[in-house]
Protein backbone atom coordinates (compact mmCIF):
# COMPACT_ATOMS: atom_id res chain seq x y z
CA UNK A 1 0.00 0.00 0.00
CA UNK A 2 1.47 3.35 -1.05
CA UNK A 3 0.57 6.68 0.51
CA UNK A 4 1.47 10.24 -0.35
CA UNK A 5 0.28 13.80 -0.04
CA UNK A 6 0.62 16.64 -2.50
CA UNK A 7 -0.19 20.27 -1.78
CA UNK A 8 -2.07 21.77 -4.72
CA UNK A 9 -2.61 25.55 -4.86
CA UNK A 10 -5.95 24.98 -3.05
CA UNK A 11 -5.98 21.92 -0.89
CA UNK A 12 -3.85 18.94 -0.03
CA UNK A 13 -4.53 15.78 -2.06
CA UNK A 14 -3.98 12.57 -0.07
CA UNK A 15 -3.65 9.32 -1.98
CA UNK A 16 -3.64 5.76 -0.74
CA UNK A 17 -3.14 3.16 -3.45
CA UNK A 18 -2.16 -0.36 -4.30
CA UNK A 19 -0.41 -1.38 -7.50
CA UNK A 20 -0.49 -4.85 -8.99
CA UNK A 21 2.04 -5.35 -11.78
CA UNK A 22 2.21 -1.58 -12.23
CA UNK A 23 -1.56 -1.24 -12.52
CA UNK A 24 -3.74 0.52 -9.91
CA UNK A 25 -5.84 -2.10 -8.11
CA UNK A 26 -7.06 0.08 -5.23
CA UNK A 27 -7.12 3.84 -4.76
CA UNK A 28 -8.56 6.16 -2.15
CA UNK A 29 -8.45 9.94 -2.55
CA UNK A 30 -9.03 12.35 0.31
CA UNK A 31 -8.16 15.87 1.33
CA UNK A 32 -9.39 19.42 1.90
CA UNK A 33 -9.94 20.38 -1.75
CA UNK A 34 -13.30 21.30 -3.28
CA UNK A 35 -14.97 19.31 -6.05
CA UNK A 36 -18.33 20.05 -7.66
CA UNK A 37 -20.34 17.90 -7.84
CA UNK A 38 -19.03 16.08 -4.76
CA UNK A 39 -20.12 12.64 -6.01
CA UNK A 40 -17.64 12.95 -8.86
CA UNK A 41 -14.72 12.01 -6.61
CA UNK A 42 -15.94 8.42 -6.48
CA UNK A 43 -16.10 8.39 -10.26
CA UNK A 44 -12.52 9.59 -10.41
CA UNK A 45 -11.46 6.75 -8.11
CA UNK A 46 -13.35 4.24 -10.25
CA UNK A 47 -11.84 5.63 -13.43
CA UNK A 48 -8.34 5.14 -12.02
CA UNK A 49 -8.74 1.45 -11.22
CA UNK A 50 -6.98 -0.68 -13.79
CA UNK A 51 -4.89 2.21 -15.06
CA UNK A 52 -1.13 1.78 -15.46
CA UNK A 53 0.65 4.01 -12.97
CA UNK A 54 2.63 6.17 -15.34
CA UNK A 55 2.33 9.90 -15.66
CA UNK A 56 1.16 10.01 -19.27
CA UNK A 57 -1.56 7.40 -18.84
CA UNK A 58 -2.83 8.93 -15.63
CA UNK A 59 -3.08 12.39 -17.14
CA UNK A 60 -5.19 11.07 -20.01
CA UNK A 61 -7.57 9.34 -17.59
CA UNK A 62 -7.86 12.33 -15.24
CA UNK A 63 -8.49 14.73 -18.13
CA UNK A 64 -11.09 12.38 -19.56
CA UNK A 65 -12.76 12.32 -16.13
CA UNK A 66 -13.03 16.12 -16.13
CA UNK A 67 -14.38 16.08 -19.67
CA UNK A 68 -17.01 13.43 -19.10
CA UNK A 69 -18.28 14.57 -15.68
CA UNK A 70 -17.88 18.34 -16.01
CA UNK A 71 -16.41 18.25 -12.49
CA UNK A 72 -14.91 21.50 -11.24
CA UNK A 73 -12.09 21.77 -8.70
CA UNK A 74 -11.07 25.40 -8.07
CA UNK A 75 -7.27 25.77 -8.18
CA UNK A 76 -6.71 22.02 -8.48
CA UNK A 77 -5.67 20.87 -11.97
CA UNK A 78 -5.43 17.41 -13.55
CA UNK A 79 -1.65 17.57 -13.19
CA UNK A 80 -1.99 17.90 -9.42
CA UNK A 81 -3.92 14.62 -9.11
CA UNK A 82 -1.33 12.93 -11.28
CA UNK A 83 1.53 14.27 -9.17
CA UNK A 84 -0.15 13.04 -5.96
CA UNK A 85 -0.82 9.61 -7.45
CA UNK A 86 2.72 9.28 -8.80
CA UNK A 87 4.13 10.06 -5.37
CA UNK A 88 1.91 7.43 -3.74
CA UNK A 89 3.03 4.95 -6.39
CA UNK A 90 6.60 5.73 -5.38
CA UNK A 91 7.47 7.11 -8.79
Amino acid sequence: MGYAEFKAPKGVIKVELELKDGVISHISLSGDFFMYPEDALEELERALIGVRGDRKNLLVVVKRFYGSTGARTPMVEPEHWVEAIMRAAGG
Binding site: G11, S28, D32, F33, E38, R72
Partner: protein
Amino acid sequence: MEWRLLPLRVDDAFMSMAIDEVLLKLNAEGKSPNTVRFWRWLPSTVSIGCFQSVEREVDLGAAKKYGVDVVRRITGGGAVFHDHEGELTYSVVCGQEYVPDDIIESYKLICGGLVCGFERLGLRAEFKPVNDVQVDGKKISGSAQTRRWGSVLQHGTVLIDPDVRRMFELLKVSPEKISDKFISSVYERVTMVMRELGRKPGFDEVRVAMSEGFADALGVELVDADLTCEELELAAQLKPKYASEEWLKKR
Protein backbone atom coordinates in the same frame (compact mmCIF):
# COMPACT_ATOMS: atom_id res chain seq x y z
CA MET B 1 -36.55 40.81 -3.29
CA GLU B 2 -37.19 39.20 0.09
CA TRP B 3 -35.11 36.44 1.65
CA ARG B 4 -35.81 34.81 4.97
CA LEU B 5 -33.65 35.47 8.05
CA LEU B 6 -33.90 32.75 10.68
CA PRO B 7 -33.45 33.43 14.41
CA LEU B 8 -30.14 32.43 16.01
CA ARG B 9 -30.11 28.72 16.78
CA VAL B 10 -27.86 26.73 19.07
CA ASP B 11 -27.84 23.02 18.14
CA ASP B 12 -25.55 20.07 18.15
CA ALA B 13 -23.51 19.48 15.01
CA PHE B 14 -25.73 16.73 13.66
CA MET B 15 -28.90 18.80 13.83
CA SER B 16 -27.17 21.83 12.33
CA MET B 17 -25.83 19.81 9.41
CA ALA B 18 -29.28 18.28 8.90
CA ILE B 19 -30.96 21.70 8.90
CA ASP B 20 -28.52 22.98 6.28
CA GLU B 21 -29.11 19.98 4.02
CA VAL B 22 -32.90 20.20 4.41
CA LEU B 23 -32.88 23.91 3.57
CA LEU B 24 -30.85 23.15 0.44
CA LYS B 25 -33.10 20.31 -0.65
CA LEU B 26 -36.39 22.10 0.02
CA ASN B 27 -35.12 25.27 -1.61
CA ALA B 28 -34.35 23.26 -4.73
CA GLU B 29 -37.87 21.82 -4.61
CA GLY B 30 -39.33 25.31 -4.32
CA LYS B 31 -40.60 24.60 -0.79
CA SER B 32 -38.16 26.75 1.18
CA PRO B 33 -37.37 30.39 0.44
CA ASN B 34 -33.87 31.72 -0.04
CA THR B 35 -32.57 31.84 3.51
CA VAL B 36 -29.82 33.35 5.65
CA ARG B 37 -29.23 31.93 9.09
CA PHE B 38 -26.76 32.21 11.98
CA TRP B 39 -26.09 29.51 14.50
CA ARG B 40 -23.72 28.14 17.13
CA TRP B 41 -22.40 24.70 17.91
CA LEU B 42 -23.24 23.01 21.23
CA PRO B 43 -21.13 21.20 22.19
CA SER B 44 -18.08 22.55 20.39
CA THR B 45 -17.38 20.42 17.34
CA VAL B 46 -14.73 19.52 14.81
CA SER B 47 -16.22 19.41 11.33
CA ILE B 48 -14.33 17.79 8.48
CA GLY B 49 -14.73 18.38 4.77
CA CYS B 50 -16.74 15.81 2.83
CA PHE B 51 -13.57 14.45 1.15
CA GLN B 52 -11.43 14.17 4.26
CA SER B 53 -10.47 11.05 6.15
CA VAL B 54 -11.53 11.46 9.77
CA GLU B 55 -8.71 9.27 11.06
CA ARG B 56 -6.11 11.31 9.21
CA GLU B 57 -7.44 14.71 10.30
CA VAL B 58 -8.92 14.43 13.79
CA ASP B 59 -7.52 13.22 17.10
CA LEU B 60 -10.65 11.30 18.16
CA GLY B 61 -9.16 10.59 21.59
CA ALA B 62 -8.71 14.31 22.25
CA ALA B 63 -12.26 14.99 20.99
CA LYS B 64 -13.62 12.44 23.46
CA LYS B 65 -11.50 13.85 26.28
CA TYR B 66 -12.82 17.38 25.73
CA GLY B 67 -16.42 16.39 24.98
CA VAL B 68 -16.13 17.71 21.44
CA ASP B 69 -18.36 16.21 18.73
CA VAL B 70 -16.98 15.31 15.31
CA VAL B 71 -19.04 15.54 12.13
CA ARG B 72 -18.51 15.21 8.38
CA ARG B 73 -19.94 18.08 6.33
CA ILE B 74 -21.58 17.77 2.92
CA THR B 75 -19.27 20.53 1.77
CA GLY B 76 -15.63 20.22 0.78
CA GLY B 77 -12.68 22.01 2.34
CA GLY B 78 -10.78 21.37 5.53
CA ALA B 79 -11.23 20.42 9.16
CA VAL B 80 -12.45 23.20 11.45
CA PHE B 81 -12.75 23.45 15.23
CA HIS B 82 -16.03 25.23 15.98
CA ASP B 83 -15.74 26.68 19.47
CA HIS B 84 -19.14 27.16 21.14
CA GLU B 85 -17.90 30.28 22.90
CA GLY B 86 -15.81 31.65 20.08
CA GLU B 87 -17.55 31.28 16.74
CA LEU B 88 -20.71 32.45 15.01
CA THR B 89 -21.56 30.30 12.02
CA TYR B 90 -23.66 31.33 9.04
CA SER B 91 -25.48 29.54 6.25
CA VAL B 92 -26.86 30.98 3.02
CA VAL B 93 -29.19 28.92 0.85
CA CYS B 94 -30.52 30.13 -2.48
CA GLY B 95 -31.27 29.09 -6.03
CA GLN B 96 -28.22 28.69 -8.22
CA GLU B 97 -29.53 31.48 -10.47
CA TYR B 98 -28.87 34.00 -7.69
CA VAL B 99 -25.10 33.44 -7.74
CA PRO B 100 -22.55 33.50 -10.57
CA ASP B 101 -21.90 30.14 -12.23
CA ASP B 102 -18.16 30.58 -11.67
CA ILE B 103 -17.32 28.99 -8.31
CA ILE B 104 -14.87 31.62 -7.09
CA GLU B 105 -17.15 34.47 -8.20
CA SER B 106 -20.02 32.92 -6.28
CA TYR B 107 -17.89 32.67 -3.13
CA LYS B 108 -16.94 36.29 -3.68
CA LEU B 109 -20.58 37.37 -3.83
CA ILE B 110 -21.66 35.56 -0.67
CA CYS B 111 -18.45 36.32 1.25
CA GLY B 112 -19.15 39.93 0.25
CA GLY B 113 -21.89 39.83 2.88
CA LEU B 114 -19.30 38.98 5.50
CA VAL B 115 -16.97 41.71 4.25
CA CYS B 116 -19.80 44.25 4.66
CA GLY B 117 -20.63 42.76 8.06
CA PHE B 118 -17.05 43.10 9.32
CA GLU B 119 -17.07 46.69 8.07
CA ARG B 120 -20.19 47.33 10.14
CA LEU B 121 -18.25 46.06 13.14
CA GLY B 122 -15.52 48.56 12.30
CA LEU B 123 -13.05 46.21 10.60
CA ARG B 124 -11.66 46.55 7.10
CA ALA B 125 -12.07 43.10 5.52
CA GLU B 126 -11.48 41.64 2.09
CA PHE B 127 -12.36 38.48 0.19
CA LYS B 128 -9.43 36.11 -0.30
CA PRO B 129 -10.08 33.52 -3.02
CA VAL B 130 -11.14 30.76 -2.98
CA ASN B 131 -13.19 30.86 0.20
CA ASP B 132 -11.75 33.09 2.92
CA VAL B 133 -12.27 36.57 4.31
CA GLN B 134 -9.25 38.37 5.71
CA VAL B 135 -8.63 41.31 7.99
CA ASP B 136 -5.17 42.83 7.78
CA GLY B 137 -3.99 39.89 5.65
CA LYS B 138 -5.12 37.32 8.22
CA LYS B 139 -7.99 34.85 7.89
CA ILE B 140 -11.02 35.75 10.01
CA SER B 141 -13.63 33.63 8.22
CA GLY B 142 -13.64 30.48 6.10
CA SER B 143 -16.52 29.16 4.02
CA ALA B 144 -17.53 26.07 2.10
CA GLN B 145 -20.14 25.69 -0.59
CA THR B 146 -22.04 22.93 -2.28
CA ARG B 147 -24.44 23.00 -5.20
CA ARG B 148 -27.06 20.30 -5.43
CA TRP B 149 -30.37 19.85 -7.13
CA GLY B 150 -30.21 23.40 -8.54
CA SER B 151 -29.60 25.25 -5.31
CA VAL B 152 -26.55 26.51 -3.43
CA LEU B 153 -25.62 26.09 0.22
CA GLN B 154 -22.72 28.10 1.56
CA HIS B 155 -21.83 27.95 5.22
CA GLY B 156 -18.88 29.28 7.12
CA THR B 157 -17.31 30.71 10.21
CA VAL B 158 -17.04 34.12 11.81
CA LEU B 159 -14.14 33.80 14.22
CA ILE B 160 -14.95 35.84 17.30
CA ASP B 161 -12.70 34.36 19.97
CA PRO B 162 -11.87 30.69 19.31
CA ASP B 163 -9.47 28.67 21.44
CA VAL B 164 -6.61 28.22 18.98
CA ARG B 165 -4.54 25.93 21.19
CA ARG B 166 -7.51 23.60 21.69
CA MET B 167 -8.03 23.61 17.93
CA PHE B 168 -4.56 22.19 17.32
CA GLU B 169 -4.96 19.60 20.05
CA LEU B 170 -8.03 18.30 18.21
CA LEU B 171 -6.71 18.44 14.68
CA LYS B 172 -3.93 16.08 13.70
CA VAL B 173 -0.98 18.35 13.85
CA SER B 174 2.10 16.61 15.20
CA PRO B 175 2.24 17.37 18.97
CA GLU B 176 5.77 18.77 18.77
CA LYS B 177 4.43 21.41 16.39
CA ILE B 178 2.02 22.71 19.04
CA SER B 179 4.72 24.82 20.66
CA ASP B 180 4.37 28.45 21.67
CA LYS B 181 6.32 29.33 18.54
CA PHE B 182 3.86 27.40 16.38
CA ILE B 183 0.85 28.99 18.09
CA SER B 184 2.30 32.45 17.55
CA SER B 185 2.89 31.65 13.87
CA VAL B 186 -0.80 30.75 13.64
CA TYR B 187 -1.66 34.20 15.01
CA GLU B 188 0.28 35.67 12.08
CA ARG B 189 -2.07 33.90 9.63
CA VAL B 190 -5.38 33.80 11.53
CA THR B 191 -7.16 36.51 13.44
CA MET B 192 -10.46 36.97 15.25
CA VAL B 193 -12.93 39.73 15.95
CA MET B 194 -11.97 40.06 19.61
CA ARG B 195 -8.32 40.60 18.77
CA GLU B 196 -9.05 43.10 16.02
CA LEU B 197 -11.63 45.12 17.97
CA GLY B 198 -9.94 44.87 21.35
CA ARG B 199 -13.21 43.67 22.90
CA LYS B 200 -15.47 40.64 22.56
CA PRO B 201 -18.75 41.63 20.92
CA GLY B 202 -21.90 39.69 21.77
CA PHE B 203 -23.12 37.02 19.37
CA ASP B 204 -26.20 39.09 18.71
CA GLU B 205 -24.18 42.17 17.80
CA VAL B 206 -22.15 40.14 15.30
CA ARG B 207 -25.29 38.49 13.95
CA VAL B 208 -26.98 41.85 13.33
CA ALA B 209 -23.88 43.26 11.61
CA MET B 210 -23.50 40.19 9.40
CA SER B 211 -27.17 39.97 8.47
CA GLU B 212 -27.15 43.63 7.43
CA GLY B 213 -23.97 42.89 5.51
CA PHE B 214 -25.64 40.03 3.63
CA ALA B 215 -28.67 42.20 2.84
CA ASP B 216 -26.34 44.87 1.39
CA ALA B 217 -24.07 42.55 -0.55
CA LEU B 218 -26.86 40.38 -1.95
CA GLY B 219 -29.17 43.32 -2.60
CA VAL B 220 -32.05 41.67 -0.77
CA GLU B 221 -34.37 42.48 2.11
CA LEU B 222 -34.09 40.01 4.96
CA VAL B 223 -37.40 39.20 6.61
CA ASP B 224 -37.47 37.51 10.02
CA ALA B 225 -39.20 34.14 10.02
CA ASP B 226 -38.69 30.78 11.69
CA LEU B 227 -38.11 27.31 10.33
CA THR B 228 -41.34 25.63 9.22
CA CYS B 229 -42.65 22.48 10.87
CA GLU B 230 -41.82 20.54 7.70
CA GLU B 231 -38.22 21.79 7.73
CA LEU B 232 -37.78 20.88 11.39
CA GLU B 233 -39.35 17.46 10.94
CA LEU B 234 -37.21 16.60 7.94
CA ALA B 235 -34.10 17.82 9.76
CA ALA B 236 -34.90 15.59 12.74
CA GLN B 237 -35.27 12.66 10.33
CA LEU B 238 -31.96 13.43 8.63
CA LYS B 239 -30.00 14.01 11.84
CA PRO B 240 -29.16 10.31 12.48
CA LYS B 241 -27.26 10.18 9.18
CA TYR B 242 -24.88 12.90 10.38
CA ALA B 243 -24.52 11.25 13.80
CA SER B 244 -23.73 7.83 12.28
CA GLU B 245 -20.32 6.16 12.30
CA GLU B 246 -20.91 5.17 8.69
CA TRP B 247 -21.16 8.78 7.53
CA LEU B 248 -18.31 9.95 9.77
CA LYS B 249 -15.94 7.24 8.55
CA LYS B 250 -17.00 7.42 4.91
CA ARG B 251 -13.39 8.30 3.96
